[in-house]
């Protein structure tokens, strides 16, 4: 047995290694492609980034000084080369708009988005999957109609409106949650000036510091925006779950299981779910990646200093270093999640392991 299993084990290891290398290669090519396209778009747009820095009153000499400083007179390929070279060393340049290193800006804005998107995805998944399963198990029932209606609302209602109404009801009238922003000012200053910020994620940092009152305040602030994002991703996840589950429940092995007298919950949650999980992982990963880009409208209403508003504002200000930096981060997040879902896919689906 052993002399057979060793080459198989060796093969598997080699295959894994190849897969990792391929994955990394894809990551590098994707990001380089992303950078190139964003870079070209940034240079084609008829907006002068120098104006963003110096303002409209500046003299031609002042404008030229900034142009030289940014290297904007260099050939485009050289500008791109310099950018990629610096980016590889972790230097994403300096934001024109905030005057700070882009890497530093992103280190501040990305954790806020990560925190919100993660919680949103957790909400969306926890509610979306059972809702989808419920709808699929009783197609045409009131429960199915209800899930469809709620899902449809999630798709069709403007986030801006939903967010404001949510704020008005849960914060304005009922006083159940805290208002916009990540923390009340008092707690915000406490966290910034008295405690250690390890991750930039308020929930996690307050926990690591053992500051329960800050944690509770942060939770009270994040629950509404995360709930809103969760609702939108729930709408998507529940619809997809329903469709995957309907498909699975029509399969012969399900009929066999039912004929053998297996309890219905086991048929659905154990047998069918196992197969539904495979495509569902991709759906959840995509939905998570979408939220990681940052939801500009949600961030605006909830005064959430996230990546979405950062990149959008940068675009409007022709702040290309910030746009490129943001694009890299979103690109890396996308590709990483894709790879992660691939790995999970293999773990869940026995056929993929072969």
């Amino acid at each position: 047995m052993s002399d057979i299993s060793t080459p198989q084990g060796g093969n598997r290891l080699a295959r894994l290694l190849v897969q990792i290398l391929l994955g990394l290669g894809t990551l590098a090519i994707t990001i380089l492609g992303l950078l190139l396209i964003t870079f070209i778009i940034g240079r084609v747009v008829p907006i002068d980034p120098v104006l963003s820095i110096v303002g409209e009153r500046a003299t031609p000499a002042q404008m030229q000084a900034v142009r030289d400083e940014l290297g904007l007179d260099l050939p485009m390929w050289e500008q791109f080369y310099i950018y990629v070279r610096d980016a590889l060393q972790g230097d994403l340049g300096r934001s024109i708009r905030t005057g700070m290193p882009v890497a530093q800006d992103i280190a501040r804005f990305f954790p806020a988005t990560l925190e919100l998107a993660t919680l949103g995805t957790i909400f969306g998944t926890l509610i979306g999957i059972p809702a989808g399963v419920l709808a699929a198990a009783r197609p045409g029932s009131i429960a199915d109609q209800l899930v469809r209606l709620v899902g449809l609302m999630g798709y069709s209602m403007p986030v801006f409106w939903l967010g404001l109404v949510g704020l008005l009801i849960f914060y304005g009238k009922l006083d159940w949650v805290a208002g916009p922003g990540r923390l009340d000012p008092a707690y915000d200053m406490m966290l910034e000036f008295q405690l250690t910020q390890y991750t930039g994620m308020v929930l996690l940092d307050s926990l690591l510091n053992g500051a329960w009152d800050i944690f509770r305040n942060a939770l009270s602030h994040i629950i509404l925006p995360a709930g809103l994002l969760g609702y939108i991703s729930m709408a998507y996840i529940s619809r997809m779950t329903r469709s995957f589950m309907m498909n699975e429940l029509g399969q012969e092995y399900i009929t066999t299981a039912r004929v053998k007298g297996m309890p219905e919950w086991r048929v659905i949650w154990v047998h069918a779910m196992r197969n539904v999980m495979v495509p569902l992982i991709t759906v959840i990963a995509l939905s998570y990646a979408y939220l990681l880009e940052g939801s500009v409208l949600t961030e605006t209403i909830f005064a959430w200093p996230g990546l979405g508003s950062y990149i959008t504002d940068a675009l409007f200000a022709a702040d290309m270093p910030a746009v490129l930096g943001g694009t890299v981060v979103v690109g890396v997040a996308f590709v990483t999640l894709n790879m992660a879902s691939d790995i999970l896919y293999r773990l869940v689906d026995p056929r993929a392991r072969a």
Partner: protein, 533 residues
């Protein structure tokens, strides 16, 4: 069974959501902290030598001081700042400022005449965007060491010619003339930047507050300095939160989670009326809305057409509806609050009169004209109203809507026909607007004088107006100077390539217990140190 599972999970989440309910009830700002909500994403830099955006200058006004100040309680009046007295010599070019003793920077370093002089020199040497406010007195990186000097407790400033003293003093109240702690700043110098990088996230001033934390596009925290020379600020901390959305600010203000809301829309203001916990404080701002008519276009160069246009705008209709509470009718290039500002607004919508003027113009009607407008709701609303009334007198406007910077480049490149623009003064002296609306020494394309609005729209004001603008800035008698600006404004209002329309009005929402808030009017910036609650 699965129903139970599904419902069970949903119930768990519902409990989680409801569980946060009791923790949100802390709906009052701390007693010693002022919580302000504003859109602060305009800030590019908070180094006084570079800061030139409203939010940055507002911040700096509270952490730095100038030699001479505008009195927040008596707007427009000059009062001592870091200098206890000042004077100009008979030669008209030598100004002296006697520095107050016993003042320290937030670092503990003492303020001396030498530090003050070095701080002003730093602005000239760095030559960032707002540096022109000082360099217009003939200061250059090469001569500034001779032009600004310190001796004992006196700073001496020499100008290249004898300007109106009020002009020099007014410019020294601008944010760019804030005095920085040169000893401290130079210890943070990197690559010869005179501490510019460091000052983008730190403060080094003598102001009532010190910058404790600055997070671009997110907010900042100011902390009171004890024993300030002006007397301690009433509130210990100022917490600024970047909240760009008016509806969000309104909700926070109603709930008492912020003390001041600075981005409220007219709808929000209306919604807040009748709320006893909130009060609305009105003020004027320095911005002016105007149309620039490119004089390269023959139609727009026709004086009858220009006059007709002035009668074909529904000024009052707009300020009573779409611009209510945000803008007031103002047809002169100096905003209210400036020396020489006029309150005459002779034009109102009169289609018949405008039609008659168009008939006198000798043009074949209708004419087609491009109208460059920035893609922003307020501007589009104004543009649509103008498009409508202009159509009634035979001018068909074709709207060219684009990003603000695109429109600005078209304007600076003299490629527009008509463009809808705003202009805000750079420093609290009438010359700031006169020098751009009523001056254009060389109207040729080669001059590239984009700093002059008159050049941008290819308007040659002629020797008389150019000369009067030059004369007003050197007139020593303030009353005479005032009369000159009044005359200049009437000339530009009635006969120029500009159609001046509105002045900014602003409305801030305050919690009822907030006292002593001064938004700065058209000439100054926000003061936090006067606020109590």
């Amino acid at each position: 069974m699965f129903l139970k599972h599904g419902l069970g999970r949903a119930a768990a989440v519902a409990v989680l959501l409801a569980g946060t309910a009791p923790m949100a009830l802390m709906a009052e700002t701390p007693a010693d902290t002022l919580v302000v909500a504003d859109a602060i994403d305009d800030i590019v830099s908070i180094d006084p030598a570079e800061a030139f955006e409203f939010s940055g200058v507002d911040l700096n006004n509270n952490v730095y001081d100038t030699l001479i100040e505008l009195d927040p309680t008596k707007p427009g009046e000059l009062v001592p700042g870091l200098a206890e007295s000042w004077s100009v010599a008979d030669d008209g070019v030598t100004y002296t400022f006697k520095i107050k003793s016993g003042i320290t920077f937030s670092s503990g370093n003492p303020l001396t005449a030498q530090v003050a002089a070095d701080s002003l020199k730093r602005v000239v040497k760095l030559n960032k965007t707002p540096a022109f406010i000082l360099t217009q007195f003939g200061l250059t990186a090469e001569n500034v060491d001779q032009m600004i000097t310190a001796d004992g407790d006196t700073v001496t400033l020499k100008t290249d010619k004898a300007y109106a003293p009020s002009f020099v003093y007014n410019c020294l109240t601008a944010g760019v003339a804030n005095i920085v702690d040169m000893t401290e700043v130079m210890t943070h110098e990197a690559n010869g930047d005179m501490g510019n990088e460091w000052l983008k996230a730190n403060s080094a001033g003598t102001g009532a507050y010190v910058l404790k934390s600055f997070k671009p596009n997110e907010g900042y925290v100011l902390e009171r300095r004890e024993g300030h020379w002006r007397g301690d600020a009433k509130l210990k901390t100022v917490f600024m939160q970047h909240i760009p959305e008016g509806a969000t600010e309104r909700l926070l203000l109603e709930k008492g989670d912020i003390d001041i809301a600075r981005e409220l829309t007219p709808t929000d203001i209306e919604g807040l009326s009748g709320n006893a916990d909130v009060k609305i404080q009105g003020d004027v701002g320095g911005q002016i809305y105007y149309l620039a008519l490119n004089q390269k276009n023959e139609v727009l160069a026709n004086p009858k057409v220009q006059e007709a246009m002035r009668y074909a705008i529904d000024y009052k209709g707009m300020t009573d509806s779409i611009l209510k509470g945000m803008w007031v009718v103002h047809q002169n290039f100096l905003p209210q609050g400036f020396l020489g500002a006029l309150d005459e607004n002779p034009y109102s919508l009169d289609i018949e009169k405008a039609k008659a003027l168009m008939a006198e113009s000798g043009l074949t009607l209708p004419v087609e004209i491009n109208f460059t407008v920035r893609n922003n709701q307020e501007r589009l609303d104004i543009a649509t109203s103008i498009q409508n009334t202009f159509a009634q007198i035979g001018i068909n406007l074709k709207m060219d809507v684009g990003d603000g910077k695109q429109g600005l480049e078209t304007y600076r490149g003299r490629k527009h026909d008509i463009t809808l623009q705003t202009w805000g003064p750079d420093y609290p002296d009438p010359h700031t607007n006169a020098s751009t609306f009523a001056s254009n020494p060389d109207n040729s394309d080669e001059a590239g004088a984009t700093g002059y609005l008159a050049w941008r729209t290819a308007w040659d004001p002629g020797a008389e107006i150019n000369g009067e603008t030059d004369a007003a800035v050197v007139e020593k008698d303030t009353e005479k100077r005032k009369a000159m600006y009044e005359d200049l404004q009437r000339k530009v209002r009635d006969h120029s390539a500009f159609v001046l329309m509105f002045q900014q009005a602003r409305q801030d929402g305050l919690r009822a217990n907030v006292q002593g808030f001064y938004a700065g009017g058209a000439t100054d910036s926000v003061t936090y140190w006067t606020i109590s609650k």
